[in-house]
């Protein structure tokens, strides 16, 4: 198969499909309830679990040291939820976004965010019908673990390389967002390999579809997070 040609054809056609099916809708990154086969549901839950347990332990230590942290952490969780439900203007129209999670990871470290992320995802499923219970593990891994860990890692790395703080925050937030999208595509491709091209083709397909919203969104996220971070720091 001519890979280059494949790429040139696939992306625009998927863009067309995307627009046709009204896929500009927000929350494209939440895999909906019942969308993953049981084996993959269990697999991603098992993958997320150790991160969750570690995060929970570190949270337990934080609140044991200072009981007021319990309320502050709960506020951070609620903040992430509310922020993600506000629409931001994006090139492809209005979109929701996980800004709060990236910001939280940079400010509070990624491991606590995995616990807060689990709670936020649970509420998004129960209160807003975004995501689901059987897909909680998969969504947690992409949005509450992979994204925040990459955000935090990149931020620390860039900061350690003496990059300007704004640049570090931007890269952390934007790349964290991109990783979330890549992981979601991977989860879907693994569960639904292409009948003609297998996993690789499916991965390409899902990446192509979500690129429409996610790539511009990642840039928006990065800019927004920098603006918020700078304002908060200036106090």
């Amino acid at each position: 198969m001519n890979n280059l040609k494949f790429r040139f054809v696939a992306v625009p056609s998927m863009v067309a499909g995307m627009i046709l099916f009204g896929g500009g809708e927000a929350w494209a990154m939440h895999i909906m309830e019942g969308f993953l086969p049981p084996s993959w549901s269990l697999f991603w839950t098992a993958v997320s679990l150790p991160f969750f347990v570690l995060g929970f332990r570190s949270m337990r230590k934080i609140v044991a040291d200072n009981p007021r942290m319990k309320l502050l952490l709960a506020m951070v969780g609620a903040f992430a939820f509310v922020l993600s439900s506000l629409k931001i203007p994006s090139v492809t129209g209005s979109c929701s976004h996980p800004t709060g999670v990236g910001l939280g990871a940079i400010m509070f470290g990624p491991s606590v965010m995995s616990v807060l992320g689990a709670i936020v995802l649970l509420f998004q499923a129960l209160l807003l019908a975004h995501g689901g219970l059987t897909t909680l593990g998969a969504n947690l891994f992409s949005m509450g673990i992979a994204g925040p860990f990459v955000s935090y890692g990149i931020y620390k790395l860039a900061d350690g390389m003496k990059a300007p703080r704004s640049m570090a925050v931007f890269l952390g937030a934007a790349l964290g967002d991109l990783v979330t999208y890549v992981v979601t595509s991977l989860q879907l491709a693994a569960a639904f390999p292409s009948t003609t091209g297998g996993f690789a083709a499916a991965m390409f397909k899902f990446l192509g579809i979500f690129a429409v919203t996610q790539v511009p969104l990642a840039v928006s996220e990065g800019i927004l997070t920098v603006m918020v971070y700078n304002t908060i720091r200036s106090y």
Binding site: K5, G17, M32, G34, A78, F79, L116, L133, F192, T195
Partner: protein
Amino acid sequence: MRTLDHYAASSRLRDVAPGYKLLYALPPIAMVLWVDSVPFSLLVFGLMSASVVMKGGVRPGDYLRWLLLPAAFLMTGTAAVAFDISVHQESFLFSIPVGSAFIGVTSAGLAMAIHLAFKAMASVSCLYFIAFTTPVADLGRSMSALGVPGLFIEMTLLIYRFVFLLFETASEMATAQRSRLGYAGTAVSFRSLALLASNLFFFSARRAEEVYVAMECRGYDGSIRVLAPSSGERQPSFAGLVLLELVLLGLAVATHFGRFF
């Protein structure tokens, strides 16, 4: 923010003990996913939807509107599963040529997509049964019966309260910004949203401290202990519920091994 919580609080099934509602709606999700059959998915979808509308008292129009919510994901997701690209036209049921390749639907892809769409909608109806009838606070209480650690439940319930608190403030802020033309263009919107987010962050931190002080005044010592309202929980027939699940399971097993449908 229009949330499902609004329906749960006024549901006619609200008073049924939450454990029973979970027992009613959770096993069918597992069965639907395992059986992977369109008729069985339809059966569960019908059962759950009827329960939400007829027993729970949700207006059919409202229920439909909520069903459409995950539709965008469902559309793109299933379409992505159904469509494939190949240079071999013969593997497709139908296809359109794009350059030297073809985009089309294979019979296997189509079957997978159709199964997927029905499974997803059936599972969503089960999730909706819980969300439409059970307030989060009730779920929190049943989580502790399932042995979920106390700290996790405390955090869940605090976040639940704070989500609505912050949302109220965030929408007040957004309204005030809009009245001063804060969202009149893309660049301006960005700036407004960044200001809103940072302001909301400070508000959260301040409010967390205030709540902490108020809790301290009532003797908070680091662990949150509360009493659940005692009366008013209805407990339907446990045997009936188990019987229903067994019938569903029987149908599921039979369907899976090809005796029915």
